[in-house]
């Protein structure tokens, strides 16, 4: 077999290995999140894993342990003369060493006390900051499962058709959009914070990972993505997290890369989402034109916005009703002025 033949054979072998891993995932042998749990387990044994307060306290214990200096120099020796000489030196130098050690210990204890004061102060600050922290959306409140193809799927597929490179869908849920993208030849994969949703996607043979979009983008190389679809939790991110996400959209997408943002409209948010989500989410959806503005600042071209979704609009009365004309006119006005469309899809291309 020549070099090209060997390379082709190794490529086939690697494809077999990938297929074996997918099969194992689908069979439940490799639960989503297991590999991450193994890494987290390792971190428990590493100094990297000792975070915050625990790390400060451990370092402080080291300082305390080092603050004592033993003035009694060991005098054991394998030679009789050696031991005698060492004892003699210790005896004659004892007063001198004792004087120096006394001052060193005094200094060390002062440093140690200072660190205790600093650590106590840091812990007070942490407690104060903690009290003002906006809590995360509880995992039990995060919607799981796959709503299936929705009104914006075909628009998303059209916007990404023909892109060259990897496309990430967050949050991908059970993977309906991923399937549609793969069917058109787009190299798509997904992430979703819900392990249950990812399990379902993996069972369908899709490349999906159980992690949040922000955690995932942190480890993606700059300009590595040709497309990025943001849906689901992007609507209710904490403003600080949303700022981080927006910055990473600009970093991780290649020039000519396409970003798509699907979200509920602010008008339909309270009525449209689950009560748990709308009450407990740390953030609220933005208007479509706000996304257009944010993307424009990052070097994206003019965004196209498509509205859709049923939302929670008032329904018109039956035309057989004698007052139908007047009532429906009022309903249309209320829908247009107060309730608006339920969802939108923003599409923009990175120009620089």
């Amino acid at each position: 077999m020549d070099a090209a033949g060997r390379a082709a054979y190794l490529t086939e072998v690697m494809a077999d290995i990938d297929a074996e891993v997918r099969r194992r995932r689908a069979s439940g042998d490799l639960p989503a999140g297991l590999e991450r749990e193994l890494d987290e387990l390792f971190l428990e044994f590493s100094p990297v894993g000792l975070q915050g307060r625990a790390r400060l306290r451990e370092t402080l214990a080291l300082v305390d342990g080092s603050a004592y200096v033993d003035v009694a120099v060991p005098v054991e020796s394998q030679k009789v003369v050696g031991s005698y000489v060492k004892r003699l030196i210790r005896k004659t130098m004892g007063w001198y060493i004792g004087f120096i050690v006394h001052q060193i210990v005094k200094f060390a204890w002062a440093v140690s006390r200072m660190f205790h004061v600093v650590v106590d102060h840091v812990e007070d600050l942490e407690a104060a900051v903690d009290a003002q922290r906006t809590p995360e959306l509880p995992p039990s409140a995060v919607p799981t499962g796959d709503p299936g193809p929705s009104w914006w799927s075909s628009g998303a597929v059209d916007a990404l058709r023909g892109v060259s490179g990897r496309v990430l869908h967050a949050d991908c849920g059970g993977g309906s959009l991923l399937e549609a993208l793969l069917a058109t030849g787009v190299d798509a994969y997904g992430v979703d914070p819900s392990e249950a949703a990812v399990e379902a996607a993996v069972e369908r043979g899709l490349d999906a990972r159980a992690e949040s979009v922000i955690d995932h983008l942190e480890v993606v190389a700059d300009e590595a993505l040709a497309g990025l679809v943001l849906s689901g939790s992007v609507q209710w991110l904490h403003p600080n997290q949303r700022d981080r996400l927006v910055a990473m959209v600009g970093e991780k997408l290649a020039v000519d890369g396409v970003v798509l943002i699907h979200s509920a409209t602010p008008e339909s948010w309270a009525a449209g989402s689950s009560h748990l989500v709308s009450d407990l989410a740390p953030g609220r959806p933005l208007h479509a034109d706000t996304w257009s503005h944010l993307l424009g600042r990052l070097g994206f071209g003019p965004a196209s916005v498509t509205f859709g979704g049923a939302g929670h609009r008032l329904e018109r009365v039956d035309p057989s009703n004698p007052d139908a004309s007047a009532i429906n006119g009022a309903i249309d006005a209320v829908n247009a002025l107060l309730l608006g469309p339920g969802e939108y899809l923003v599409v923009a291309v990175r120009e620089r």
Partner: protein, 364 residues
Amino acid sequence: VTAVHQFVPALLPRDATGDHTLALRDTLRAVGWESDIYVEAAHDELASEATYFERYPERARLGDILLYQASTASPVADFLATRPETLVLDYHNITPPSFYEEWEEHTSEKVALALSQVAQLAPVATLGIADSTFNASELARMGCPATAVVPILVALDADAAAVDAAELARLQDGHRKGTVLLFVGRLSPNKAQHHLVEALWLYRRWYDPDARLHLVGPAVTASYARAVFALADELGLADAVRHGEHLTEGELAAWYADADVFVCLSDHEGFCIPLLEAMRAAVPIVAFGAGAVPETLGDAGLLLDSKRPGVVAAAIDRVRRDPPLAAQLVAAGRRRLGEFSLSRTRARFVEVLSGLDGGQVRQP
């Protein structure tokens, strides 16, 4: 060129840089050039082979070329920065400090200093020699005006060292039924031995409950080594992970002879000599493609683009239950080893250095 003198922080026996330095000195002398070794420190065994670097000025002659074996922080680098002779950097890669930052601050600081020294010398060197294009590109990024890739001089084309039979028997005693995975390299965060432990755990669960992992190398980053073995313990693998260090050549050959698959999941390698050792010992290789690993490995192993435990376990299993594949990898390893043969590398060193002009004098 009439004289090429080497400067090395430490000349140690059974050490890749030490062996390389001695082999290069012999190569240069064989073509009729003067060549001595100047060091900051030398092991007692090699003390007669080297001279303390600060004695060089009294022996310096016009036309000397000074070649620095850059592998760690040393006052030798600062000394060379003050010399007017033509300078050549032989770069063996320095692990980025970020790998050590959370593990050992003093190691992190030491490698940061070593990198800053190389960065100081790179722009004033006439030539940078690197043992991989990965390392050469690092030198170029640091401002080295010209670079050449010449593999490290290692005597791996000779017959494999004789296996220490007693060591082999000790390794196989009582449990020679499971797959033996081997990795050779110091226990250090950039070598990612913890990922090997994770892969072993999954491999045992999926394919071979008796599989074992053999790790050979000094535990230079003690806190990392402790964490690796604590992880093994936590996963119920304390008896399945064995560690060897300070081995003789024959003992190391026994560990290779006992291995079924050589697995490398390092995040950063400047060359990775153990890959060549595995090729010489006819052990099939599975490796994660980081740093210079793809370049050193060529097609002589399964090169992974992910080191998730599932992928690694499946790759090891494929090599184990597909003897023709394992045979192909071993055969490719033999061919690959030929490309790093000592005779070829020696000739390349002479060719690269012959093009230099020792008469150039630079402003320190």
